[in-house]
Assembly symmetry: C2
Homo-oligomer: 505 residues x 2
């Protein structure tokens, strides 16, 4: 008989419901009374702060600066954009009034708030800041000397989602959006690929998520983009999550927005622009990638607490000495660093049962748990448990030895999560060379994995296949070596092009 | 004849216009096409990031955690609130629709965006998150064991401002809002004063702004608060800016929102709550406090660049050696720290005139400018200029000596700004004991300073005097020693109470 798990249902029983329960058990976020919008609680927000801090340093190291643009976008900006971009998002919150009037109901005595002060020109809450940042760039750029312009914004954005899901798809979400303008296509393409690589490195080295780097097909591209690069993560139900994208817009956007400059030959040119972003969706991705039937599992670099120390105090006479030893250990650990930041350590000395404590931290995904009991105190040992290992696995280490090796224990957790995710992806990806097995694959299992196929079909053919099986080409993977020629699964034409197909969130 | 200044007009010619020009010359922010909303450009946003980083560490060190709550607030929350709080803000952006429909004008061919998808219940964009955080607290708090709850949020908020002014008063602004709930009044009051002191320390030690700490009178209190503590800064036109406030709400707010808990005696109680905040208004305050007729002057801890190194290269043969020396110096400096952070150093090796460079950095308020020319290179010296000193003042220092003392030069800039601001405030504050001179004071000058008076009047008398002279009691200053009894300037009743009156932004 299987052990009872902390999360009900388990992943195999009901993956979507398991996901919600992991978030609840870890106390990360909850739904609010604002439709489709979540409250991000301290444990969830702490993860976001760590994601932000790491990415922000990477953006700055590659020459980007942060700025802040208005939340509300004049409709005129969107009208201009709609003329240039098809598939333009229109599910957004519209502000039409600027005042509330309180009216008292004479019968019930209740106060009602009535919108008043109608705006001559409504605004929308930014679904992205493309247009308003573009308008600023048009003001700022005059000469080639003003380029490149490398701007990032950390902000909240809003899209009216009909089927919200915590972190993965919410009406309001937090994100960063990079917007850059360049003198030449070459420079703008280089920026697009630099960020693509930056995202991939970040996901692997910080979130322990291995991604497939690739290019979107025309059908899946950002509206108006010439090239969309994506990092695609596989999560445990073998679906794909598009974790971050980086777009080269060519001169499409700059000509619509009049982002022009006088070049070195004194001629007017339109700038080449890019945009790129990741969002709180990364938190959903990391939950689905690493967590297990006992709850959240956090890669150490984004764990709000990396180590929790639990005093085990069965006897009153040694109680205080154990608690003191725990605090002393915490203090020593806190002065050590891991990846350039001081270790985040917490002593849980609440007066509640040890089992309850342990399970709380298991469900919150803390990478390392340390217990110190009376015998450990005497023998100068600590009992170490790793979140990536079996729930009953433990090792007893000399206190000094643990202090010397704590970083390598954290690194080991990171590596084991990364390796597990790699294995999942490798086992969840198959090559497929004929249409019959391609078609049967998508109905053969509840969790069909990804298929890599020779592909030379048209946009229409791609869209037809995608619709039929509720799949999409996640990307055309970018790889060092060119694949050998093989017949396209649909057209039979020989091609070196490979398409990666999958279901997705 | 006075020297020409970099900013026109000067402070004494036209203070409000000088303020706008300082922002423009430093490239900190600009107006946008969204009514009353600004674009915060990298130099302005960089200051805000440094403010955030410092305050955030102080909040965490005092036990607070960050979280994030929805941007949109259901009207029902405000209706509940309006029944309890008078003077409730109603100038806010109202979201009434959730979709845009693109319509093509058949004649012009232009696309128009039309709001559609009318919401059954409109939302407002948060003017503050008091109500939506209160609703969350009501869900989260059940027992005294759940208290205290110490939450902070960094967010954008929106109030429909009729007379916007960059940083000081904008429709959208960035801020932090702390919201806490406690078991007892004593604990909640202690929280309120802890944050009051934290704000005062931060303003003095980071922004070099000395503040008056005091309590607001009932007339000036936050709606629904039992006590509002404030830190008041004097700026160079001798007006007051309320730089931060900390409110003790008693049980007023918790009873309206049903934030209740089962206490240690197993009885239901309402929590005692507090709230507190500072905003991008701090940037406006710091500009008006320190800047001069040559532009922005930045206290070193919030300067995006603390040191700018300018190569002076009159001769082609020594050009590269000088530029290399500048970069080498920058690298050495960057590995040093100031108040726990690596020094922020920039080498300006653009190929433009040295005068233009110098003035750009003067106008941006960089604390220390270093020039290295051919002779300096040979003699291992650097030429140091401090932004708080005369524009032509310079000192030649041995390179090694400068490296040893760089932190003390930065500290000296901080101290001199703080001392200057203290002197301004001391010279701008007078004690006043009779009504006649009180009344004449407010019309005697364009920049009347603050008056400290014995005050025992009623709320109505306070409001009448305030309205008549366009002033307000900024606060009842908190001081260690009780003032001697003196007759109230209005009623003549003897009182130990002192009121600080002033004009304000
Ligand atoms: Zn303790
Ligand atoms: Zn250089």
């Amino acid at each position: 008989m299987a052990d009872k798990t902390a999360i009900t249902p388990t992943r195999s029983e009901d993956f979507p419901e398991w996901y919600q329960q992991v978030i609840k058990a870890a106390d990360m976020a909850e739904n609010s009374e604002t439709r489709g919008c979540m409250v991000i609680k301290p444990w969830g927000y702490g993860i976001w702060e760590l994601i932000q801090k790491d990415l922000d340093a990477r953006f700055k190291a590659t020459g980007h600066e942060n700025a802040y643009f208005p939340l509300l976008i004049p409709l005129a900006y969107l009208e201009k954009e709609a003329e240039h971009a098809e598939g333009f998002a229109t599910e957004c919150a519209v502000v039409t009034h600027h005042r509330l009037e309180a009216q008292k109901d004479p019968e019930t005595g209740k106060t009602k708030m009535i919108p008043s002060g109608k705006l001559a020109e409504p605004y929308v809450i930014r679904p992205t800041s493309e247009t308003i940042i573009g308008a600023a760039f048009a003001r700022w750029v005059e000469s080639y000397r003003d380029l490149p312009l490398l701007i990032n914004q950390w902000a909240n954005v809003m899209r009216w989602e009909m089927r919200p899901r915590l972190f993965l798809r919410t009406a309001e979400f937090l994100w960063q959006e990079g917007h850059t303008a360049h003198e030449t296509a070459t420079e703008a393409v280089a920026e697009t690929t630099t960020i693509h690589q930056l995202y991939s490195d970040f996901l692997r080295d910080v979130l322990a998520i291995p991604v497939v780097m690739g290019e979107k097909t025309e059908a899946e591209r950002f509206p108006g983009a010439e090239m969309t690069l994506t990092v695609e993560a596989m999560v445990q139900d073998k679906k794909a999550i598009q974790a971050g994208t980086s777009h080269y817009m060519g001169q499409n956007f700059s000509s619509a927005q009049d982002i022009s400059f006088v070049d070195r030959e004194n001629k007017k040119q339109f700038a080449h622009t890019t945009s790129w972003g990741v969002s709180t969706r990364l938190i959903g991705t990391l939950i689905m990638a690493h967590s297990d039937d006992d709850g959240l599992v956090l890669p150490p670099q984004v764990a709000p607490k990396q180590i929790v120390i639990i005093p085990v105090t069965p006897k009153e006479e040694s109680r205080q000495a154990i608690i003191d030893a725990c605090h002393a250990l915490a203090q020593t650990l806190t002065s050590q660093t891991f990846h350039g930041q001081n270790l985040r350590v917490h002593v849980d000395d609440r007066e509640i049962g040890g089992g309850q404590k342990k399970w709380e931290w298991v469900k919150k995904g803390v990478p390392l748990r340390i217990e110190i009991g009376p015998r450990d105190l005497e023998s100068h040992k600590v009992c170490l448990q790793r979140r990536d290992q079996g729930i009953r696995d433990k090792s007893f280490l000399d206190r000094e030895e643990f202090l010397r090796e704590v970083q390598s224990h954290l690194d080991a957790v990171h590596q084991s999560l990364l390796q597990r995710a790699r294995t999942l992806r490798e086992e969840g990806t198959s090559e497929c060379t004929d249409l019959a097995s391609f078609e049967s694959h998508w109905s053969s299992s509840d969790f069909p994995g990804w298929l890599l196929t020779p592909w030379d079909g048209s946009r229409e053919q791609e869209e037809e296949l995608s619709k039929k099986h509720k799949i999409a080409i996640r990307c055309i993977p970018i790889s060092e070596e060119v694949a050998s020629e093989a017949p396209c699964i649909l057209t039979g034409n020989p091609t070196t092009r490979r398409a990666l197909w999958g279901r997705s969130y």
